[in-house]
Amino acid sequence: MPNIVACFKWVIDEAYIRKGPSGTLDFSAVDYKISDYDRNAIEEAARLKGFHGGSVTVLTAGAPAASKGVKDALSRGADQAFFAGDPTFNQLESSQTAAILGEIIRSRIPYDLIICGEGSSDQYAQQVGPRLAENLGIPCISYVQKLTIGADGRIIAERRVEDGVEVVEAPLPVVVTVLPEINTPRIPGVKDTLMASKKPVVTIKKEELPPVGAARLQTLGMTATRMERNCEKFAAMPEGIARFVEALQKRGVIN
């Protein structure tokens, strides 16, 4: 029965980011959520537990306010949570996150399978999964859209790669990063949320972890993308259609 660890990031819900008049981004009224693909990671862990038994542990490193995210994750079928919370963990870069998660998993959580989202909703750097595998010295399977554990305890994963689907298998333990196609995350029921508060959470302080080193990545600025919208109307008459074709040619849409 596998011990499954699902890692997640508590991110700004982009639906709440507002665009200021000069393209500035307004974060004053944002809410947070579990990063989209990480919800798939947690769901897949819970789904596999449903088939094979075992345990599901959710793990995150983030600001203390991510405690709400820990409850959210626990309401999605996990048994317990590990939470490294510190105000300075708000802006971790991938290498730091992977180092923290790796240290916690190695020292505190028995593991056979570690599932991460392919990338986070905010940065989508796709770094944490592979770096975590490297940190733990185990294989990493990325771009996974289907996951099964065979009778021999080996994992079989369908990877969606550029030109098709690649099926790979590996012995456990392994890190898997998943795509949203792998499953449909549940909407937790009321009892799931209430029960989540009663599940064990191991909180780890920054001081209990080896120093992660300074961030090498610095965010210098953020602005909204501009989308030019033009609307021209043409009559559905021969002369209108001729003008329509002309307009498309002028803009280089057609030759």
């Binding site: 809410d31 959520k33 409850k71 909407i187 937790p188 029921g189 009321v190 009892k191 989540a196 508060s197």
Partner: protein
């Protein structure tokens, strides 16, 4: 003073928003158009424990509080006021009546399946000649051995055609006046009780409403809820709970009207710029947002008082009165902002406008709320 919801309440609210966006919003137009009870949605609501949030777990509920139930009604009503209302009357009145007044046997037999969402509750009080004037009711319950025989006709029964468990009010002693009305729990299929056809309504169309006819309907003594003659007191307490739900439904309607108005006014170009730049429009939106906040605080406060086990009768009436009238005022404005498009089928504000009106009428008209409030403050 603490205006913060708990993390659990915030998560539950968010989960209901996702539920409503995924399962309710896409069918809201169709169930309104066809006046259809979306049984498939209620099955999913039951699976997620949404049909008995404030009911203790030993009676099939989620074991949470009333405020959390109110948050769920608000979010659900934002997508579909009919669906929100059906849950509200089921939990707020039918389930609460049995929870507060039922015997252990009655709770196990009727509350448990209702709170699990396996059975739908209905509240059967109003009669053709007895609306706000409850005392004018004529339905009687006469004791005959080990059973009561009910005769009479009720009307405007929400969940009438679709209900499974009915809370029916009838006179056991008309001469005793306010102490002569009793309440009976009657399961669907009881001989002598039948639901009439579903009324065609202006709004709230997917909520099923009908007459209920009682003709020599024999109800075992064991189905008397509370004491004989305690019906009026129980009904009023039921209304207190239900009214907070209607207030929440109204807030959901105003929130949806506001969301639609903001979106549309930013997109709609007239005289070369979005109409949101016009003061006439932006002030309508400002008023909408302000009264929405006021209604929300009144409603959450009433629910909070209930959870603190304090008297919340006056606050429930205030919340219901203010929120429902705000819903009517601002859905009118929302249609105005949308102009001709808002007057056409397919515009969400058109449905919100029709759905809003009933909130000023049922579970006590605005006038009845003012009677409750003035009765409290002029004491």
């Amino acid at each position: 003073m603490d205006f913060k919801l708990t993390e659990e309440q915030e998560l539950i609210r968010k989960n209901m928003r996702e539920f409503a966006d995924k399962y309710v919003e896409p069918i809201a137009v169709e169930i309104d158009e066809n006046s259809r009870h979306p049984a498939e949605v209620f099955k999913k609501l039951a699976e997620g424990d949404w049909m008995g949030i404030p009911i203790p777990t030993e009676y099939g509920g989620a074991g949470s509080d009333y405020l959390t139930h109110i948050l769920a009604i608000e979010e659900l009503s934002r997508s579909c006021a009919s669906t929100g209302f059906t849950v509200s009357i089921h939990v707020g009145i039918a389930c609460m009546l049995v929870l507060l007044n039922g015997t252990e046997e009655q709770k196990q037999q009727y509350l448990l399946p209702m709170a699990k969402g396996e059975k739908l509750g209905a509240f059967v009080l109003t009669e053709p000649g007895a609306g706000t004037d409850v005392m004018a009711a004529t339905t009687t319950a006469v004791l005959d051995g080990d059973a009561y025989i009910l005769n009479g006709t009720k009307t405007f029964t929400s969940n009438g055609p679709t209900g499974d468990v009915y809370m029916v009010f009838a006179w056991t002693d008309k001469a005793a006046g306010r102490k002569g009305l009793s309440c009976f729990i009657i399961p669907r299929g009881t001989a002598g009780m039948s639901a009439g056809t579903h009324f065609k309504k202006m709004g709230l169309r997917s909520s099923q409403t009908s007459e209920m006819v009682f003709k020599d309907c024999r109800v075992p003594k064991a189905n008397l809820l509370g004491k004989e003659g305690a019906g009026l007191v129980m009904a009023m307490a039921g209304f207190d709970h239900g009214r907070v739900g209607i207030a929440a439904q109204s807030i959901g309607i105003v929130q949806a009207a506001l969301d639609e108005s903001i979106r549309y006014s930013k997109e709609r170009i007239q005289f070369g710029s979005p109409i949101s730049k016009n003061q006439a429009i932006s002030w309508m939106i400002a008023d909408m947002a302000t009264e929405l906040s006021a209604a929300r605080f009144l409603t959450y406060h009433a629910a909070w008082l209930k959870d603190q086990k304090q008297n919340f009768s006056k606050e429930a009436a205030m919340a219901k009165l203010y929120a429902s009238e705000a819903a009517m005022r601002h859905t009118i404005k929302a249609v105005q902002i949308h102009g001709g498009y808002g007057y056409c089928k397919g515009a969400k504000v058109e449905r919100l406008f029709r759905d809003a009106k009933i909130t000023e009428i049922y579970e006590g008209t605005s006038e009845a709320q003012r009677m409750v409030i003035s009765g409290n403050v002029l004491r």
